[in-house]
């Protein structure tokens, strides 16, 4: 009947600005609002304090943000399922404590064994929480609230049992160097360059593959804009990490190992979520658990997996935490940390209700929180002012995000 052959292919307008406008109008603005907000914050703090945009301070900021980002990533594993784990703050503290204590003068484990133990503690406790949530058929909010208290108790018990007055210092050099050690200048540039070039090449190769299969492609102009932005970010990162940030004759240059670890974690987690079956199943379960079950997915298995991955990621966060603190004490603010972690994820654009989120959301959201704290500390804003300002930013960020996403049509 119809004279024109039906086709689903290539209805994308070729003009990139038309595409961008259509996407914005659909609410598919991605992370644009939050990135604009981030830039506005940076401009504000730089206007108030000239030391904000210095390499030394930005390096500092990146380490502060790494803690929020890693815990935010841990929480995203669960937020994707519509679950939450309130114990992750203290779990990261306990994991870090395990590494500190086992590598101290008394136990004297090698650094890699201490790190492995920290990651094991995180994973096993995560598994346990997940098994409990599924076994008891209770909301994860309640179960992990109990776990949180238990972990706080264990943490105080373990730390105080060392008889050092509630504070244990790191004696292991490698553990210390997670935050305070760094790549050489050359390796920093190689790492940044490889990351940027890899991402650019990947986007073009992917587009080419789609074109060869006659599937819709992203306009080349878009990819070029993205490539330029990535390259600019690379140059900025190189400047931040490779500018001398030492004092007097002491020269400190290069990317801290913690940032390298963070980069690897983001890349690996994103790959897992986007390119593997278990990653796809986490999204499916978060979107419609019953549909996932009918699709033959063993839902409970993947729910436990998410708790274990969250625990593992908190273990990594704990290692960065103790390294930055150069030890562990019995007053870890794990309850606040986990709420900042959720805040980082949500500011970045991850839904609290499951099915929608990305690991880079924690990256952007964690940097926003880091910028707020770092900037306000530079401006010597009082503690109560800091809390009030943070509260305002949380609300504004989430509201803008929510409005921008209403009616969105594209998966993320």
């Amino acid at each position: 009947m119809s004279t024109t052959p039906p086709t689903l292919a290539s209805q994308t307008p070729s003009n990139p600005w038309t595409v961008l406008w259509l996407r914005l109008r659909r609410g598919d603005s991605g992370m644009i609002p939050i990135v604009v907000g981030l830039i506005a914050l940076c401009v504000y703090f730089q206007a108030r304090s000239s030391s904000f945009l210095t390499a030394g301070n930005l390096n500092n900021l990146s380490i502060q943000a790494t803690g929020y980002v890693l815990l935010g990533m841990a929480e995203i594993w669960l937020l994707l399922l519509g679950e939450i784990d309130l114990s992750l703050g203290f779990l990261s503290g306990l994991s870090g404590a395990a590494a500190v204590i086992l590598t101290d003068l008394q136990f004297h484990w090698p650094w890699f064994a201490g790190i492995a133990m920290a990651l094991l503690v995180g994973t096993v406790v995560g598994l346990f929480s997940g098994a409990l949530v599924i076994g008891l058929r209770l909301p994860s909010f309640i179960v992990t609230l109990a776990i949180q208290l238990a972990l706080l108790g264990i943490l105080i018990w373990v730390v105080d049992a060392q008889g050092t007055g509630g504070t244990i210092s790191i004696v292991n050099g490698q553990l210390h160097s997670i935050v305070y050690g760094h790549l050489s200048v050359v390796w920093t540039d190689i790492f940044i360059g490889a990351t940027v070039i890899g991402l650019i090449v990947l986007s073009f190769v992917r587009n080419q593959n789609r074109r060869s299969r006659e599937l819709d492609t992203t306009p080349t102009a878009f990819l070029l804009i993205r490539a330029v932005l990535l390259a600019a970010a690379g140059v900025l990162a190189s400047w931040v990490f490779n500018t001398n940030r030492g004092y007097f004759t002491l020269k400190i240059q290069g990317m801290p190992y913690a940032i390298v670890i963070l980069g690897v974690m983001v890349a690996a987690s994103t790959f897992f979520l986007n390119r593997t079956k278990p990653g796809r199943y986490l999204y499916a379960i978060g979107g419609n658990q019953e549909a996932a079950r009918r699709g033959g997915i063993q839902v409970n298995r993947y729910r436990v997996l998410a708790f274990a991955l969250a625990g593992f990621t908190s273990g990594v966060a704990g290692l960065v935490y103790v390294s930055n603190l150069n030890g562990i004490n019995d007053a870890v603010p794990g309850g606040t940390q986990v709420l900042y972690a959720v805040g980082a994820a949500v500011i970045g654009g991850t839904s609290l209700f499951g099915g929608r989120g990305k690991m880079v959301h924690a990256l952007v959201g964690g940097v926003v929180i880091g910028v707020i704290y770092n900037g306000m500390a530079l401006l010597s804003i009082s503690v109560y002012g800091q809390y009030l300002a943070t509260a305002g930013v949380f609300l504004v960020a989430v509201t803008i995000d929510n409005v921008a996403r209403r009616g969105s049509t594209v998966s993320r």
């Binding site: 039906p6 086709t7 689903l8 292919a9 209805q11 593959n209 789609r210 299969r213 599937l215 819709d216 986007n274 390119r275 593997t276 079956k277 796809r280 999204y283 499916a284 978060g286 979107g287 419609n288 019953e290 549909a291 996932a292 009918r294 699709g295 033959g296 997915i297 499951g354 099915g355 929608r356 969105s408 049509t409 594209v410 998966s411």
Partner: protein, 279 residues
């Protein structure tokens, strides 16, 4: 008084040996004999005999509580029958689980459609059976196959197969759920009230999709309350009344009046007697 349904007259429910090998090339895909289903003391299905011809659309109609849903749940393995026999292509089969049903080529699209709103069309089409290459999701092959399937089914209304399903209209969602069933190489697709929540034009789209399925040799069972749908799309009618299959036959032997009589009273003065099973 000669029924055109040769399969029906070739045996009775007490004579299952007649089924299977040796039978002339009939087009009966699924044959139920004496299917009974009890939930405790309640007999939801009483000795149901039903023939589903290959490549045709069979409308399963009946009032609420007549046993339509129970019947399709026995076929799709959710509630295995208490007693009775099921023949698929003339071979007796046991369907105990939904997986059994899927493995022989029966796909059921329930009213809730079982779609993930946060995933796009391609991801939903392959949910639980994703294609991989070296352990990594093969998005390109899945997207190509999805497009092909939608083209084959003449589903032209979706703009992009990378849209999330949550952004689709009710008719489009129904089409995606059906397309997913078809892509799994199903030979029988069961649709549970596919047009219940749809507007006029979307209903028309779904009905034409049903016709496309049967033109591609796929048998379809449609549960519906809408007699207009029945008479516009079905090749056969099966009427249930209080757990009994009271009448089945080609569509031209029924009209709206007789269908309504059968649905409400279990009998009709205008439908030939032999169409009504004697049980």
């Amino acid at each position: 008084m000669n029924s055109p349904e040769t399969n029906r007259s070739s045996h009775s429910s007490s004579n299952p040996e007649a089924v299977g090998s040796g039978e002339s090339a009939t087009s009966t895909l699924l044959r139920l004999r004496g299917i009974t289903k009890s939930f405790g003391a309640v007999q939801a299905l009483q000795h149901v005999d039903l023939d589903i011809p290959a490549g045709q659309v069979t409308a399963l109609i009946g009032d609420n509580g007549a046993g339509k849903s129970t019947l399709i749940k026995t076929i799709s393995g959710i509630h295995p029958p208490t007693s009775g026999e099921v023949f698929w292509d003339g071979q007796e089969v046991k369907i105990h689980t939904p997986r059994d049903a899927a493995s022989i080529g029966i796909a059921t699209v329930y009213q809730d459609l079982a779609l993930c709103d946060n995933l796009d069309i391609v991801q939903n089409m392959f949910l639980g059976r994703e294609l991989t290459k070296n352990g990594v999701l093969d998005e390109l092959s899945m997207e190509t196959a999805t497009k092909q399937t939608l083209l084959d089914l003449s589903v032209h209304t979706v703009k992009s197969v990378r849209q999330v399903v949550g952004s689709l209209s009710g008719g489009q969602r129904q089409a995606i759920a059906v397309a997913r069933a078809v892509m799994r190489e199903s030979r029988l697709v069961i649709l549970d009230e596919p047009t219940a929540a749809l507007g006029v034009s979307q209903t028309a789209n779904v009905l034409s999709l049903i016709k496309t399925l049967s033109s591609r040799g796929i048998a379809v069972i449609v549960i519906t309350h809408n007699l207009a749908d029945v008479f516009s799309v079905a090749d056969n009618i099966a009427v249930m009344y209080l757990g009994n299959l009271v009448s089945q036959g080609p569509i031209h032997q029924y009209d709206t009046t007789s269908a309504v009589e059968l649905i409400t009273t279990g009998q009709s003065s205008s439908v030939p007697a032999q169409l009504i099973p004697n049980n």
